[in-house]
Amino acid sequence: MRFIDPHIHMSARTTDDYERMAAAGIVALIEPAFWLGQPRTQVGTYMDYLSSLVGWERFRAAQFGIRHYCTIGLNSKEANNEALAEQVLEILPRYLMKEGVVAVGEIGYDDQTDAEDRAYRAQLGLAKELDMLVQIHTPHRDKKRGTSRSMDVAEEMGVAPSRVIIDHNNEETVQEVLDRGFWAAFTIYPHTKMGNERMVEIARQYGSERIFIDSSADWGVSDPLAVPKTARLMLERGIPTKDVEAICYGNALAAFGQSGQMREEHWLNPAPIDQRVLFEGNSVLRGQQPKVGELPRIPERADEIVFK
């Protein structure tokens, strides 16, 4: 079985993670632009970060046989530094048309302040103008109301629900998101919020239409193998294979594939130029022999993680 992790912050992860993800069957991932734990104070550092998402990180992932896509946006936390936010909104259009940018994201609300609301609306406007998808981060606190509000504003701005992915759902938010026609993504967190046991029950109850999962792994305690591990658990608990495939691969591809920037052929049958540009380097595999199309073996962990 192949997997997509449609929300993971690889800039904060190591090459060990890439190796394990590839070995576990992850063929593609999406890295949303977010905050780095330490707030940025300069537009220049924000630009360098966005450049790394369309440049270095994309290349780094390819060295492990994983296709890297990203979403570009001003996250809700940093929208509260209004002087910075204004400058970031100014430079975003320079990134949104880059190769592999599948949506404006992750945007939305954190504390649900007025400044967050302004930045969110401005970026929904950009998405409309450039005919782009939107990936929404729903708030950790006052979640139910924040999720409803995110959808209200998207609809008010005229963005079609089928073009919006609502992320970090839970049992309390999923019904409304699905009823209103949006995509519902779930983040599988190791210790908090959505654990993979709970995800199995959600799959049992809601099926697989417009539902998919991600790890949101970042610099915090998180699990870059959350998608394949949850897939295994779902199968063990009797969720039909076609639903597991939809939740762990097909639906993320269908949702973000609407951008035209993410296509199955990219990992099944890459263009010659991509093979030359993305798959030939060895700078990450320093001192090792890179093998195009083959993945490093990690036999001591294979039993636990390899899932095919």
Binding site: G55, R94, A271, P272, R276, V277, G281, N282, S283
Partner: protein
């Protein structure tokens, strides 16, 4: 025809009509003095509009390229790279303005754009302005970007100062890239580079790691003293391609002692005399 006109013709022969029209229209706007933002957006849009097929220039087009700009070799270009460079050239900006915009484009570039921008170096106005940019390209961690500067590109040999040139050649070996496609390799060989390469060979020997036969190409013309000892070691202990490389290198040395080192190796001497050894044949294929 100048490079801008040539690329325009090559692309119009390859692109479907609506895409060709979009490209022509974008170029026309840029010629009319469009803003920075117009250029940035048009260059970014290329990958969504034009696709990524190989340009695959014909032999005649390659001749035209070399006639339009000596040393220009678009053999490995893709269509989107050509279109991006074409749009940049369409601005007809002077050197200062072009260099400023190129820097801005590089700040926000994705991987494919970086490769395109560096491949375009020999075509930009006021050539000496881009030496620091080229050196920056050499510092990249992305092999494809490095090779956009180093391979089939006349710019480095024409404009890079010796320290940057030497870094480029050494780095090509270091990242497992080839020297054969480096333009001007023999003309820009120098004693400092020869010394750096021999030091690198010693590092590799100490680590028990293999050495590309191509390394000795830039050592040969300056081989003397301890460098001759290194070449003797390769002759005596190297693999067959390494021995052939050492023989070729020694044949270029000015030091009379070089010929003496070759004399016990009749097989290599014969191959040299018959013209059967060449650097091209010794370059790894990848």
């Amino acid at each position: 025809m100048n490079p801008e006109q040539l690329i325009e013709r090559w692309l119009s022969a390859r692109l479907p009509a609506p895409t060709g029209t979009w490209l022509q229209e974008s170029a026309r706007k840029l010629r009319g003095g469009a803003s920075d933002k117009d250029l940035y957006i048009a260059v970014s849009l290329v990958q969504r509009k034009v696709g990524k097929d190989d340009l695959a220039p014909t032999p005649q087009e390659l001749q035209e390229a070399n006639a339009g700009r000596q040393g220009w070799d678009p053999t490995d270009w893709s269509i989107d790279q050509a279109a991006r460079i074409y749009l940049m050239l369409s601005t007809h900006a002077d050197g200062a303005e072009f260099a400023r915009r190129l820097d801005q484009l590089c700040v926000t570039a994705d991987v494919g754009e970086l490769v395109a921008f560096y491949r375009g170096l020999p075509l930009y106005p006021d050539q000496p302005r881009y030496a620091l940019r080229a050196a920056e390209g050499v510092r990249t961690n992305m092999k494809a970007v490095f090779e956009a500067v180093a391979h089939r590109n006349p710019y480095p040999s024409e404009q890079l100062p010796e320290p940057a040139w030497n870094q480029m050649v050494l780095k090509a070996l270091f990242v497992g890239s080839r020297l054969e496609p480096v333009v001007g390799l023999d003309q820009r060989a120098n004693p400092t580079l020869a010394r750096m390469l021999c030091d690198y060979a010693h590092e590799r020997w100490s680590a028990g790691r293999p050495i590309s036969p191509e390394l000795w190409r830039c050592v040969g013309p300056f081989a003397t003293g301890a460098m001759l000892d290194d070449l003797k070691r390769v002759l005596d202990k190297g693999t067959q391609p390494e021995r052939a490389a050492a023989a070729l290198a020694l044949s270029r040395s000015q030091d009379p002692a070089a010929a003496a080192l070759l004399s016990p190796h009749a097989d290599l001497q014969r191959a040299l005399a018959d013209g059967r050894l060449s650097w091209r044949a010794l370059a790894p294929t990848n």
